[in-house]
Each structure stands twice: as C-alpha cells, then as structure tokens.
Symmetry: D3
C-alpha cells in the first residue's frame, strides 16, 4: 500500500498489529518459529476478513529476555519493549485510527501487551472513541484438544506438540528430528500466580511440552481453531458500537 491508500481508509477500520519473537525453540525448531506461526495465523485471518481490516507487518522482535541464555535469541529489553509496543499503537492513533489490536504469538509478550493497552487508554482518557486491545492467539478460548483428541497437550508449551505441529504444517523443512526430543513437563508449582523465571531453570534443551508426536495434521487443526478465534475477536471489534457510559 502507498500512503494515499492508507489515508483513504475509514478511521473506524480495525488495525491489527501482529507481534511475535525471535528466540530459541529447542534443538528441533528454528529461532524464527513464533514469527512464522503468528504470520500464518495473521495471513489466514486477513484472507477471511479482507479489506475490512488493516494488518501491519509483523514485529518479529519480542520480549524474550528469559531465553537469552540460549544463543541466537534476540530481545528488546523489557521496558524498551513496552515503549516499542506503545509506539506501534500510537503511530496508528496519530493516523486517526480508533480500533487497534495487538495480536500476539509469543508468551513473553502477553503481559507487556496488557500493560501497554492499559497505559495508552489512560494517556488518551479524554477520547471516548478509542478501542485498544491486546490478545494472544492461543488464549482466546479455543480448545484444540476438544477438536482433535489425538493432541496430547491441552495447553501451550514452548517448541512443543502444538508449535511443532503447526510448523510441520507450514515449514516441515525447518523441523529437526523429533525422535530426539524428550517430554519436558511445565513444572511450575506457582500457578495460578505469576513467577519470574528464566528458561534454563525449566528445560536444558529449550523446549517445554511433548513435541515427539507432532504432525502436520494436528498443525492444521490448531491453525483452524486459532484463526477462527482471531477472526471472531476482530469481528467483535467491527461490531463494537462504543461505550455504554461516556462520562
């Protein structure tokens, strides 16, 4: 798109900003995994929603400090990541858009996304036409293991059955030997509740979960479930008719 094309869009057009990461994904998956998967979900959603929604390019740099003990990981420092997300959203506010969603494909970005939409809504508190949202694609309610009972996991891990299956669906050439992978349990007795952790506390290889039996078929199921959730979420943005109370 060129700038006159963006200028011509209605200001009520939802803007979707995909965010992900570049970080270690175990011995069997590439560092670009989260960005490839989020990109695929975004592409599928965009194909369904067409011109009703504006998607920006995916921001591949995430909040991945917890993986920094594994070479190849790139990360914004935590506060810089807050600033970065803030800038992405404020760019779109500056261009007049009113409904903006960070759609996230990396666990470490989930809390920063929440923090930033909170901060920005306060900053623009005089506005009553601003809808600022942040969501992680696998935490929108979808239950893939209710669709495909062969899925061993019922929650997201890291470089796990779910992520490996999705990667087998789109880029099998980038997936290593799954027979070498071990089952690594989540192993955090402090949930619910939030613990500050670094990855090497929890896994020596870098993955968490059960990647061994990942398949492309499972991956397709996962993409369908998650894409449906994202599309549904954006449809709610389209349907939104403002606030009950205007103060």
């Amino acid at each position: 798109m060129n700038w006159p094309a963006v200028a011509a869009l209605p200001k009520s057009t939802p803007v979707v900003i995909p965010i992900a990461a570049l970080e270690q994904h175990g011995h069997h998956m590439p560092v670009f995994t989260d960005s490839l998967l989020m990109g695929e979900v975004a592409r599928r959603a965009e194909a369904e929603l067409k011109d009703k929604v504006l998607f920006t390019p995916l921001m591949w740099l995430g909040n991945s400090e917890h993986h920094m003990d594994f070479p190849g990981t790139m990360t914004a420092a935590p506060r810089v990541y807050l600033d970065l997300l803030t800038n992405l959203i404020e760019n779109m506010i500056a261009h007049g858009f009113q409904r903006i969603l960070l759609i996230n494909g990396h666990g470490g970005n989930h809390v920063p996304g929440q923090q930033v939409v909170f901060e920005l809504r306060q900053k623009y508190r005089q506005r009553n036409d601003l809808l600022l949202l942040s969501a992680t694609y696998w935490l929108l309610g979808g239950k893939p293991n209710e669709v495909d009972s062969s899925l061993e996991q019922n929650r997201m891990g890291h470089a796990c059955e779910w992520e490996t299956s999705m990667m087998l669906r789109i880029r099998p050439d980038l997936v290593g030997d799954l027979k070498q992978t071990a089952r690594v349990e989540w192993g955090n007795p402090f949930e619910p509740g939030s613990r500050g952790w670094i990855t090497k506390e929890r896994t020596p290889t870098g993955h968490i979960g059960y990647p061994t039996n990942a398949t492309a078929e499972k991956g397709e199921t996962l993409f369908r479930v998650f894409t449906a959730d994202v599309v549904s979420y954006i449809n709610r943005m389209l349907a939104w008719d403002g606030f009950s109370w205007s103060g």
Copy 2:
C-alpha cells in the same frame, strides 16, 4: 521489629509484600477499601503462618489511573508503579532474602506485578536461588460461590457483592446504603483478551457487580476462601527446593 531482628532471620524466609490501592469504590464504599481488605487477608495469613514468614507493611498506593476520573483516587503513574514494585522487591534482595511474593489486592496491580517479577528475574539471571512471585488473592483458584451458594457473583467486580460483603465483615461502619446500589454488568465483550479501559466507560457510579445483597456472612466466607489460598501459596514457597535445571 528492629534491624538486628531482621538481620537474624534465615535468608530462606519467605517475604510477603502486600500491595493494594486507594481509589474510588462507588457511592457506598470508602476509597481505602482495597487496602483494608488486602490488609485483613494478610493479617489472617500471617496469624496462621506465624514466624515462618516476614510480612512487610502494606503498600496502599496502587496502579489506579483508570479510576482517576473519580475524585479521591490516588495512583502511581503506570511506569512509576513498575519502579515502585521493583524497589520493594529489590530492597529485600539487597537484604539477602531469596523468596519474595507480592500479594495483591487490587485488579489494576495484577499485570504490573507480573511485569515486575519477570523483569527482576531477568536482571538477576545469574542467581539460581531466587524465587520471585506475584499473585492476586482472588485469582489463586478459590471458588467462593461453590462454598456459599447464596453468592450471586462468581467472579470479582469492583465495590461489588464480594468486596462489599468483606467490608461488612470488618468495617460495616464504612459501608453506605446498599439499597441505592444498582446491578452493573461487567459489559466487556473483549474477554478473554485485554482491553485498555477507564472506569467511567463502564460505570457511572464507580461500582461493577451486584453489591445490593452483600452480607457480613458472605464476607466471612470470602475471607476464609481467599486466606486459605494465600496460605497454601506461601506454603508452596516454604516447600520449594529450588530449580530442576541449574543451567
């Protein structure tokens, strides 16, 4: 306590830092509500755990920018609040303590607490003896409406049935006329997922939920359920024996 008494504690003693807020709680509840309730939960937990745990005073200033359209609310700016929580935890790290919990009694502090324990664990990534936790007392798994079926709500609101009942239990003199209160629905079609909001978008009076039928009996149930959760959580801190993987 004086300083030699603190110096004499084992460094493995869990330190619990209660955090809450001073913010509007509708027409029928005082601005100090969250701090009074969190204080009561902390006192009950401390009474059970005794000398095994060190409780600091409660930090009453919270992240309450979303309530600032209602006079009397006090708040740290969002980034200042991150810094403030960071300081509270780092004080205790400086004194040598290894297991530190932010126990939270205000919704707006939930995400900042998570952000801060993430940031600090990364900062001290060379340490393998550091357990940094953040938890909100009503989000630790307790299901009070399974204990008392007369509870109308099954989730926390704001100045709602749950909070009003607890306040009736400890400070009925501070609760106004409940007959004047209305039922205010949560009204956020963007859950799960996170929306940046300000309170006046969602409620003209300042409360969300069903305070009208609050009772002190319900309050006692709520305190028992939540205190049990907090005590259980801290017991897991006491039982913790370090990381599976030391890198």
Copy 3:
C-alpha cells in the same frame, strides 16, 4: 471517605500528604519509627484542624538508601522517590485541589520534597492559583529544648533522645533497653553545606544522638511543639490569598 465526599470538598481545601519512612532505627527502636511518629503528629494536627483540611494516608516508603546497609530498611530509589512524590501531588492537582503540602517525618525526604515542589510548580507555571509546599515537622522553627530544659539535644538526630522520647510516649512497648545505648555524636565537619553520606559511616549501631535518657514526658513536649508548628503552617495555607504578582 467515598469519592462523592471528596468531590464535594471546596477546591481551596488544603490537602496534607504525610510522608515518612521504614528504616533501621538502631538496636532499640523499630524500623517503623518515623512512620509512627509522623502519623501521630498528623493525627494531632488533624484533630485540631478538623474538616477544614484533607489528610491523605501516610506514605511509609521513603528515601532511605543511606540506611540500606542495615537489614529491614525499605526505600524507593532516589529518582523513583521523586517520581512517587510527584505522583502523590499530581493526583490531587488532577482532582482540582490548589493547596497541597507534603508534611515530612524523615530526614532523607527533606531534599526530595523540596525538589519535587520546585519541579511541579514549574510544570504548572501557567496556573496562578497553585500553592505547593513541602515541610519537615521538626524544621518549622520549634525549639523544644527551650520548653523543656531537661532535653539534652537541641537538634534532631536519628533514633535519638527526641525520637525515642516520642516513641516512649505512644508505643513504649516497642522501645528496647536504653541503658545499652551509647552517645553518638553527629560528627559531620561539613555543615553547613551538604555531604553525601551513608549511615554506617557515622554510626555502627544505627542511631545518632543521645537516646539513653529519653522519657515519655519529653516525648509529649516534643509532640506538642511540633504539632503546634504543623498546625500553624497549615493555618497559613488556609489564610493564603494568592500571589502579589500575577505576571
């Protein structure tokens, strides 16, 4: 108070924000000393001034980095403390109040309080109805040793005759064995003028001054002198009729 009660106050009502600290006070005094004493002075002042003035809760976290070599001390980092005080005052400006006082009960907060009221007055330089003040209760001109000649000190120390006497007046149960305390001189040849110091440079036990002969009677005298000064100061806020020059 609930928020409608705060909203109903005249905007010219003086707002008083008590600030103190949680820090080591030698072998014989608790870490919460400054907050207990400032709280008592504030309570006595509030009792005299009644509804003419709005007192916020006391902020117990202070600027106490110089005491951090003594376990149990909690502190905001120096710049965070400036931000924290800034937030407290700006909350009240946001709610429309025009006359705001930080009343301080900890030596380490004195300079930050001055810095912050300077900064904020500049930030709101377009306003000509804003009175921003910062004051330390024992530095308002009161001369307690002119009232009670048995007082050995003629200036404030730390966990000293003055502070220990006031604590004996309100919480004698928290005061340890005074016979064990030594006379510790101020020992700073660089006054007047300002020296950056850390507490352990000046005292091995944590106190400075002569606590040994503290009594509750002396404490009562001190409270009366200091409370009178604070009340007088706030009365000047009430009497204030604006600036001579409006530019």
Copy 4:
C-alpha cells in the same frame, strides 16, 4: 537456524543487522519500499559471503517521525529507536559475538546508527575485541552515476529515480504511474550542516528527486554498485585484526 547452530559459530563471525523503515514513499511507491530494497541488498550480499557472516532478520521499524504527517508511516520515537538499536546489538554481544554491523537502508536511521555504536563502544570500553559499526548502503562510496551515465541523480533522494529504479527491478507490480510524478528538488540551503526537517516542508507528494525516468536496468546497476560496497565493507570486518593500541 536453531540455537545450537548459532552457538556453534565462531565468535569472530561478523553479525550483520539490516535496518530499514516502513514509511510513505510518495504516491507511486509502497510504504514498505526501504525494507524491500535493504532486504534485496542484504540477500545479495549474503549470497556472496555465504557462511562466513551471520545475517539477522531485517528490522523494518525505523526512525521515521519526519514522515508521520503522511498516513501509513510507522516509526519508533527517536529515543526508543536508539534503545531498539542498542538492544539489537547488545543481544549479539550477549551471545559473545565481537564484530557487529548495522547495515542501514533508510536515511532517518543514519544518525541514530552512529549515535548507538558510539554509545555502546563507550559502555563496553573495557573490551578490546569489539568492533561495532554502522553504515548506510548508499553512503559507502559507490558512484552509480559513474557506472550508468543515464542516471539523472547523483545522490539519493526519497522515492526517487534511484529507489524507484530498484523497486522496478524487484517488484514492478508495486510501482505506480511514473508519468504522474514531478521533479522535486532537494531544496535545502543548509547543507553541509544538519537541519531538522519534516517531510511535508519539502514535498507535497512525499517524494524528493526525479522518479519519472526510473527503469529496472538502472535499478540493477544500483543494486550491483551498492551490494559491492556492502560486501567490501564486510570483508574489511573479516580482515580486521584488532586495534593498533590496546591502552
């Protein structure tokens, strides 16, 4: 690549971080122009240098505040951009790499790149094995108009003959009608010397230079000249044998 592959690289391997922008490029070019062109130069350079060099993904978010009056532009705030570049380089320092180049494809990133390598070299001043570089691909000495005399420009503009020609070479489908484009002069009487400007001061359409006669053939020449410069620069990084003086 997965993380063990990155871990296996020699620490003396040059790391090249391509940076560009997403910003208006007039009526006839897409907002992603700089990123597409820098990506092509990086791909060509990588193809020549093969495994001797590690290329990271291209960071498409640049320092484009001066274009923000044109919708569709995205930008990091200037200081956030400094932090972002700092993080990208420090990621690689954390993984042990010693020779790091920001290769830049957007004018607005040129000064920030210089600022950041200055700052980081100072921060790591104890290291004598660290080579931190920043370079803009068309400012490495190449003189394309000496190679192809049909080129009208002898310097880079914006969405100009040079950029349009390169885009025609790789993505002609994204180039609009060149007959509609005007000649826009550089028009800055304050060179040499640096003027703070915003784009709309200098051009109403968003382009600067002479795009009308751009051709794919000119584009191929430009890519060859600039790629040769980048390869030569990286070869100097490979040949570098440390400092003359170690202090």
Copy 5:
C-alpha cells in the same frame, strides 16, 4: 592543564566544581550575573589555595526554570540538571579523585546539588574513601552585615543589594541605573518550609531585595566574607582524615 598534568595530581587533591546560572537579574543587571560572581569567588579562593586544589571551569548553565518567564534565561530542565551535576562529579570519580565539591552560586542549584551528592554517595556505597560535598557560597555561615553595618539586607535576595554590590566591584560597566530600582520584599509566608514558586509570582521586574544603595565597597566586603568561607570549607576537605566508622 594538559592530561598528563592532571594524571600526575595526588588522588586526594580536592576537586572544586563551580556551578552557577544564566538567568534574568532584573532590569539593572546582566543575565550572566551569577556566573560572574561565582567565578570571582572561585578565582579568589583558588588564588589562596594554589596548587593544593583542582578547580574545573565554571558550569554556567543552572537550574533556572523559575525564571523562564523572563527572556534570555537559559536553564537545564530539573532532572537534566540532576544528571548534569551527576556527570560532572562522576567524571572526577572516574579519574580517581576522592574529594569533590560542588561550589554553588545560584539559589536554584542548592537543592539539586544536595540531591546529587546524596544519590552519588549511595551509588558508590562500597567506597569508604569518597567525600562528596555540595555548598552554596553565601550559606556557609558568613554574616556580611556583621562586618559592614551599612548593608541593609541580612540575607541573599536576587539582583539585590548583595549581588549588585559585588557586580559593582568587578564589572560596574554592566550595572544599570539603580535609582530606577524598587525595594521588593521577599514576601514568602511559607518559610521555613519549602514552596515551589516561579519568579513572576514574586516580582514584576525580576529582582528581590534592595539594590538601590548598592556600592562597590559593600561588594568587596561581601567577596571577602564569602571567599573566606569557601576557603575554610575547602581547608576542611584537605584536613579530612576519613570516616569514623568503616562498617
């Protein structure tokens, strides 16, 4: 001096950093007044102390935001000024010096100087050989009106009898018509205690005090008194033999 000469100095040499301001000084005095006066005091002190002490150049940019309603005033923003003073002192710590004094000639710098030596002493708390001081030349105890009873003022104002007299002593050519000057009272009912103010609240012309009867003779007296105080203070730095307690 060249760098080998600085390198040859004993690390115990006191370093004195004069700081002042460039700000409005009424209708009758130049904006550079504070810097000229502080420079004269520093030169006289240096002449007495000779090679025992290292004086840096005077930093003429001060914390003068309160004067910004008067054209010609230059100022660092308040936090930038804290950073600036921090840098000046840390430069000297980096070069190994142990005894460092900010000697100040502008009222608005007094609190920032105190804040900064506090902050830096905490930052370098592991050091037990570091003496960091900040002092304002007319607040070191000198009582000029006890020396010359014709002085009408007994405290410093602004562009007042004291400053005007000193300027008449060194640069009478820069002093305007004193007959036109009015008596402007200090007019702040909130002393002791600290009020955030801007200059135009207190004076329409920019001066505070009684400049009309200023004379060069009074100026000489003032310089002698203040210089003696500064020399005495630096002599205490020379005599300093470290801390009583090393912790």
Copy 6:
C-alpha cells in the same frame, strides 16, 4: 545583556549556541583546546555579524566519553548530552526565537547535534516557522589546504596540525614542545561508515594527525577559512524565507 534587552530582539533574530568540549588534547595541548578554538571562531563571526545575531555563551561540556581514559577529560553521558542540547535549544524556543543554530567545535558533538535538531523539529512539527540547525565549523566546506599549501593535513585530526596551529595563533603559551610529538595516522579502515571507538584504541598520546610543524600563520589561515564558512552559514539563516511547502 539584561532580560529586557533580550525581550526587545525580533523573534526572527538567529540565535547561535556555540558548543565544544573539555577533553584531553595530547601531551602538548590543554584540555580546554576545543572550547578556546570554538570561542575564537564564534567571536570572529560575532564581530562580523554584529547585532543581527544573538550568540549565547559557549557550552564547554561536550560528548567526550571516548576520551575518558585520559585524566582531566570531562563529559556528559551520551544521553544526558542529548538532553542538554535539547534544553539549550528549547530555552530559545520558549523565548520565542525561530532560527537556532548549534555551532560545534568538537567531533564528538557532531552526531548528537544532528540527532537533537531532528528530535526537536519533530516535537514542534505543528510549527512552520522553526529553523533548527546544527553544524561543525570545519565541516562546512572550507578547504584550508587549498589556501595554504604548506598545510600537511587535509582533514581535521585531534590536537593535530590544524588545532595546534590555531592554538599557536591565540594562546601560544599553552602549547607544549612540538618536537616531542609524533605523526599519528587516522588508521580507521571503516570509513565511510561509522565505527564506535575509544581514543586509546587509536593513539597512545592522545593526538591524531601531524602537529609537529604547526605554526601561528597556518592557524590564522584556518581561523579565516572557518570563520568565513560560519558567517556564510548564518547569513543563509538570515536570508531564509520559510518553507516551500506548508503542508
């Protein structure tokens, strides 16, 4: 000047802010070299331009971190220096001036000056009457070695033939024994392009270039060439008639 004199200036008057440094200049030159030379160029330019232009005092503190391994160097930290330059320019914007130039006499300030005028132009993007410029006096196009063929250098070094000659012209008493100086080559194979470096990597004595044959005559030539460039640049500021496009 006093403040009413500044207030009386037309707002279109160019304001020139000279910036330089205090840093090591080898064994044979004083640390104040850059400030003395920039001061001389500014004085000569001011003499030519007279009252048409307002010159502020020279800011002698620069961005000299790369020289900090040599005692006596003083520097603002890199980001503080950006803030400092920002403040200097914003002071003048606050007083209503529209045409502001940072004229620079130290290599390390060149990039920060560019960064700051970029940042500020963006911040004040609503203004269409603001001309913010930054320039380094020896990089304005002057070719002194075309004027005096005895000059060995054709570019600026550090404490080199050019700087030493200029110092011999104005302060020969501060120049040491040139026979002891060596020829030190620039020795940076990464130009064009920008390398983060520290001075001790490139020179053990602190100078770069050929100071041995410096003379006062060469110095006079250099001053004339550079002053002419600066005067010409400021004349372009005077002649400026606003923007071509106002958006």
